[in-house]
Each structure stands twice: as structure tokens, then as C-alpha cells.
Amino acid sequence: MCLAIPGKIQSIDLLYGGAVKIAKVSFGGIIKEASLEMVPTADVGDYVLVHVGVAISKVNEEEAAKVFSYLREAGELDELYDTELNSLIKN
């Protein structure tokens, strides 16, 4: 039940004179609405972790990229992951 999924914010609607932000979030192409009331600084293009219709955290891209260090250390960082790592850092 604590399932939460990362998705990319596509657009944001402001309600109640801007006090409430509701986002359209894409989960691998599937769009669902999520409240941004718990992460008010999240913006279009950011990845947020959504749980039961409420974004609970912004995904920290730098921290996420650290996972690739395992491949570097293991000497297994092939072209595929090099590309993926670069795109992760650029995005």
C-alpha cells in the first residue's frame, strides 16, 4: 500500500487562486492527476513520486545517478549505460 511511482510533471493547474497546484503527471506515457500540495516547489519537467494521488517527494536526479557507479567499479559500464548515464545527468 505504500506503493509510490515516479512520474514526470507535464502541466500544472492552479486552483483556489494559486493556493493549490494539481499536476498532470506522466508515468511512462500514462497520464494521471496528482496534487502537488506536499511538494509546492515541483515544476513542469520535474520527476515526482506519487502515492494515492498525492506527490510526496521530488526525485533527486544527482542521487539517482549514483547507482551507475556500481557498473563503473565493476568495469561493466558499457556503451548503453554510458548513454543512459549521460541522459540522466543532462535531464
Binding site: 500500500m1 505504500c2 506503493l3 509510490a4 511511482i5 515516479p6 514526470k8 483556489y16 508515468f27 511512462g28 494521471k32 496534487s35 500540495e37 506536499m38 511538494v39 509546492p40 520527476y47 513520486l49 502515492h51 494515492v52 494521488g53 498525492v54 510526496i56 517527494s57 526525485v59 533527486n60 536526479e61 542521487e63 539517482a64 549514483k66 547507482v67 551507475f68 556500481y70 557498473l71 567499479e73 565493476a74 561493466e76 549505460y81 543512459e84 540522466l88 535531464n91
Partner: protein
Amino acid sequence: MKYVSEFRSPEIVDAILKEIQQIVKGTWNIMEVCGGQTHSLVKNGLLNMLPPNIQMIHGPGCPVCVTPVSLIDKAVHLAMEKNVILCSFGDMIRVPGSGMSLLEAKSKGGDVRILYSPLEAVKIAKENPDREVVFFAVGFETTAPANALSVVHAHRDGVKNYSILTSHVLVPPAMEAIMSDDDCRVDAFLAAGHVCAIMGISEYYPLVEKYKIPIVVTGFEPVDLLEGILMTVKQLEAGVYKLENQYTRVVEAEGNKNAIATIDKIFEVTNREWRGIGNIPFSGYAVKEIYSAYDANKKFNINIEEAHEDPTCLSGDVMKGKIKPHQCPNFGTKCTPVKPLGAPMVSSEGACAAYYHYNLATVEEI
């Protein structure tokens, strides 16, 4: 999918597994607290990949499983009231009560609706002003902000026909209850990442110090789980005990202050009964008195007979890590997802359901 597929990478899984195999010397029992982590470990076959001297013990982190039978009976009672729309997460509806489950109540004419979010229930209340809408608000700290937010929305919009039937539970007191049990055989914990995304990590320092055990805040994907296990094993092998955070891309040390403020606005800490485990002091949330108009427990005068459950169900021992699901004599025979004796067989995070669906009972004890 970004932030998902790379954390399921077979190459990275392989690299971490090799490192675990290289450093592990002792025999260790590691408890993953959250039922979502249990399912990920089982579904991805990780239990069979770990060295045999690392035993994963499955914890009580399934809110559906620990919701008391009496509360399910109350939800069923409300669902059968003519004027009530009973809304719930899908997980709850097959869980057996003393008499029937919410699904059986629905089949007998009760207006039971399965929702993705409690915020949808407030919308239903607005659309049905002549009826009472009750949301069955279960969950750990992860779900508390969303359930609290539904009350904030209802209050803000003057929605009078909305209330929540709450059974919120808290993780740290449950870990304390497990560690204080004389039969406890847990050497280290993987703490539940999404709970910590809300609450932060500081609540776990006292547990680390008191019981001298490593606790590693861990995510849910295969790479997360194996990295959490690796960090835990490194501590165990070095004979040290620390609080560490594997899930840094999501969990900040101080948690989410907006979410904590929303919880504090609506809820207060209370004692809670945990199904299969018993009473644990200060282990849950109840709606604050000032918002009692939104508390279904107070709004409705619910008189139900004393709750009872099948005495042959061993789910309490499963959730405390004393037995594995398939060691229960009823597993897969008297107890199946279609006809469960207890909640862990039907919840999407229940350990019994994980073993049943992914056929782990046929695997030799590892």
C-alpha cells in the same frame, strides 16, 4: 521508464550481488519492514539469488494486514447502511471480517466503491450531497498525508457529508515491539523508504542505539533492495550499527515538512490494536477532536458485535517474522486468496499472498 528501469538493471543487480557474496561471512537475519519490499524481493526472485546465510525475514509493514477485524466489521456495517457510500482502497475489500468482507457487502447491495485516492472520495461527496461518504482510511505514514489532505479539502470546501474511518499505524513503534520480543531473531532492518520520505529518518536513531542494530532506509526496486542489503551486511560484518540511507534519491533526512504539517493538523498519535500482533502503545493516528465532524467513528453510532477471527490463522507469527508463510499448516489448503483465513493472504503487500502468487512455497527453505 526513467527512475524505474535503471533500478531493475540485471547488470547492476549482478554487480551488487557479487559484492554481497564477497563480503558476507556470518549468518544474518535481516527484516524488511515494508510489505511492498517483501513483494519486490519475492516477485523479482531476489530471495533465491542471495547467499544462503542471508535470511530475509518479512515484517509487519502491510497496513491492510494489521487493520483490526473490529474496524473491518465497522466498515462493512456502514457499507450496508442505505445512505452511505463506503469508499476504500482496493486492497481492503477482500479482507475477511468477522462476518463478511467489503466485497461480500458490495455483492449484497452495499454501495462500496474502490478508489485510487482519498481525494476522489471528497469529489464523490460533493456530487452526492444527500448521502454520507465514508473513506476507509488505512495506511502507514506514507498514506497519512493524503488521507489528512482529504479532510483539509472537505473542511475548506464546506463538505459536511464526508468522513474517514481511520486505522492509521506507525512503523517505528512496530519495530520496537518486534525488537522487544524475547524470541526476536532480527539482526538488522531495512526501513521502509516511502514512510521515511514523509517522516524523515531521525525517528530510527533511538532504535539503533537501544538495540544496537543496523537500520538502512531502503527503496523498493531490485537494485535498491540489494544495495540496502549490501549496506546492512557491511555493517554486520564490521560489527558496527548505524542508521544509513540507501534511498537518497527520494528520502531527505528531515522528511517532507509540508506532509508532516498536514498530518499534524488533522491527526494525533494514539494507541492502536494491530491485527495478529495486539495493542502497541502510541502506534497510530486518530482524527483530532477539533476535526471530529470528519471522524466516522464519532459521526456514526456503530454498534457491532464483538469481533472474532479464525483462531487457526497464524498471520501474527508470520508478521512478527517467527514463521515463513508456507510454514503455516493452512497455507494453500484451508487458506487461499479466494478463501482467506487472514489478511496477509489477500493484501497486495501480504507476505502469504506473495509466497502464494509467486509459488515460493515449492522452493526449498533457503
